[in-house]
Each structure stands twice: as structure tokens, then as C-alpha cells.
């Protein structure tokens, strides 16, 4: 192999490495920096705190989450709240936040891409529902 050929191969290798590195950096940055990811995290934190607040209420209550959640699906269980982007079957990076309920309390139900989302407490049951229209 002559020197010119070796140089060309090495140059091609360097170009490929640069493209791969830049591609990986861009992919990581866009995936982690998406506003939807931030929105999912803040919504999950807010809803977990709302559940804890509802647990503290001695009676029944209905509380609206004051953000448009039409881009997300929300699943509530007795251990955590999970937010998915769009249809929950397609999102590979859902965000969950746990909470601890007193014994005898349950949290359940899910809401799929509704603009207005409410947490409702009835007795010892907390559910996530689409807010009733006024």
C-alpha cells in the first residue's frame, strides 16, 4: 500500500469518526433536551405532590392540574404517577414519581391525552380523571 492510499484511508476514517461523534452528541442532546421531557418531569413532580396533598385532606376533593396535558397520557397507581408522551404504548422514556399512601388508600385510573386533568379524592380512593366540564 503506498503512502497516498494510506493517507486517504486514514483521512476517510477521521471524517467518519467526526461524523459519528457529532451524530451521537446531537442525538443525546436532542433526546435529553426535549421540552417534552422537561414537561413530563415537572408534571410528574407536581402530580405526586398533589396526591400527597389530597391524602392530607380529611374529606373529598376535586383538584384540577392547571396545565394543558393533551400531549401526554397519565397513569396513576397506588405507588406512583407515570407520564407518557402521546400514546403510552409508544413512549420508551416515561417519567414516574413515587408516593406513599396510608394503608387502605388506593390510587388508580389513567387519562389519555386530555387537555384538562383532575385528581379526585373520594373517601380513601384517589383517581385521575378528565375534569368535568363546567
Amino acid at each position: 500500500m503506498n503512502k497516498k492510499a494510506a493517507s486517504i484511508i486514514l483521512m476517510l476514517f477521521e471524517v467518519i469518526v467526526v461524523i459519528v461523534v457529532v451524530g451521537i452528541a446531537l442525538t443525546v442532546a436532542t433526546r435529553l433536551g426535549k421540552p417534552e421531557t422537561i414537561n413530563k418531569i415537572t408534571a410528574a413532580e407536581d402530580l405526586a405532590m398533589m396526591v400527597n396533598t389530597l391524602v392530607a385532606l380529611p374529606g373529598d376533593a376535586l383538584v384540577e392540574y392547571p396545565r394543558n396535558m393533551s400531549l401526554y397520557s397519565l397513569v396513576l397507581t397506588s405507588q406512583k404517577v407515570t407520564i407518557y408522551e402521546g400514546d403510552q404504548t409508544k413512549d420508551r422514556d416515561p417519567v414516574s414519581r413515587p408516593f406513599i399512601l396510608p394503608q387502605g388508600y388506593t390510587a388508580t385510573k389513567f387519562v389519555k391525552q386530555k387537555a384538562s386533568v383532575c385528581l379526585q379524592k373520594e373517601g380513601k380512593t384517589i383517581v385521575i380523571v378528565e375534569c368535568p366540564k363546567p
Binding site: 503512502k3 486514514l10 442532546a29 422537561i38 405532590m49 392530607a56 385532606l57 396510608p102
Partner: protein
């Protein structure tokens, strides 16, 4: 290939070995930076979260709040007969094995010198205790007192006792 050509290839190989390592480190640092920035944007102060969690201790009759015979709940009034370890476990029970990586609390009735802790509280506290001005129902009368709540945030492992 001449000796110069072999030297050139060898030099490039060593260069790319070093460059690959440095690029790998830089990529990891980049990811850590982005994740850290994301964490800063979405951080919620621990004191805020614990404020919501600890409300249940003084307002929920399934925890320690006093409820009279008619079913009316008295918020910020502690029923002394409910202030027990068993009631605490009904009100707030963390995972027995990994519950140390969530919030744990120690409640102290200052005037009575009575304390209760959640099941994974190991006295690793980082900030001042929360305080609630409360009334205590001792079965006969209401008595003014202060409820102090020490907060243990998530810890990475169960602390070991020194000297054991």
C-alpha cells in the same frame, strides 16, 4: 511501505488510541452536563415536598388527627391515643428493604417529650425540623403543644453503627 510509512501508520494508531479515550471521556462529560442541567431545571426543593407529605400527620384522621364522635376532624389537633408506632406504620410506611432512599421522618411532641419515627429513619437529617403548632387531645381536654418533624431525605445506604 518504507520505514517512514510504517512510522506514519504507527503514529496515527497511537494518536487515535489516545483520541478515542479523550473523546469517550468528553462524551460522558457532555451527557452528565446535559442531565445535570435538566435536573436543575426540574428540581423541586425537598422542603416543599416534605411540607406536603407531613401535612397528613396533622390533618388526616387516619394518621394522628383528632376526630370526634360525630366524625368531624380537627386539623392540627393530635389525638394522643393515636400517637403510636402502629399508627405511624399505617399512616406512612416505607419499603422495609429500600425505604431509606425516600423521605423518612421523626415526629416529636415537644411538650410531652414523645417521639415517633418512620420505619427507615436513621437520624441523617440535613435541614432544620419542620414545626407545627398543634393542640393535643388527651381524652379529656385540649392542650397546646408543638410538633417537630425531623426530615431524612433519600440516603444511599443504611448507616452503620460506629464501633460495631
Amino acid at each position: 511501505m518504507s520505514d517512514n510509512d510504517v512510522f506514519e501508520v504507527g503514529r496515527k494508531t497511537i494518536y487515535w488510541m489516545i483520541a478515542s479515550f479523550i473523546i469517550g471521556v468528553l462524551m460522558i462529560a457532555f451527557v452528565i452536563f446535559i442531565v445535570g442541567y435538566q435536573g436543575k431545571l426540574t428540581a423541586v426543593p425537598g422542603e416543599l415536598k416534605t411540607g406536603f407529605i407531613t401535612l397528613r400527620f396533622v390533618t388526616n384522621p387516619d394518621c394522628f388527627a383528632y376526630q370526634d364522635a360525630t366524625g368531624r376532624t380537627f386539623p392540627y389537633t393530635i389525638d394522643l391515643s393515636k400517637f403510636t408506632k402502629e399508627r405511624m406504620n399505617l399512616c406512612y410506611l416505607t419499603d422495609p428493604e429500600k425505604g431509606y432512599n425516600t423521605f423518612n421522618f421523626k415526629l416529636t411532641l415537644h411538650g410531652r417529650d414523645m417521639s415517633l419515627a418512620t420505619n427507615n429513619f436513621f437520624n441523617v437529617v440535613y435541614y432544620s425540623p419542620l414545626g407545627y403548632a398543634v393542640l393535643i387531645w388527651d381524652g379529656e381536654k385540649f392542650i397546646r403543644d408543638d410538633l417537630l418533624i425531623e426530615v431524612q431525605e433519600s440516603i444511599s445506604s443504611i448507616p452503620t453503627m460506629k464501633g460495631s
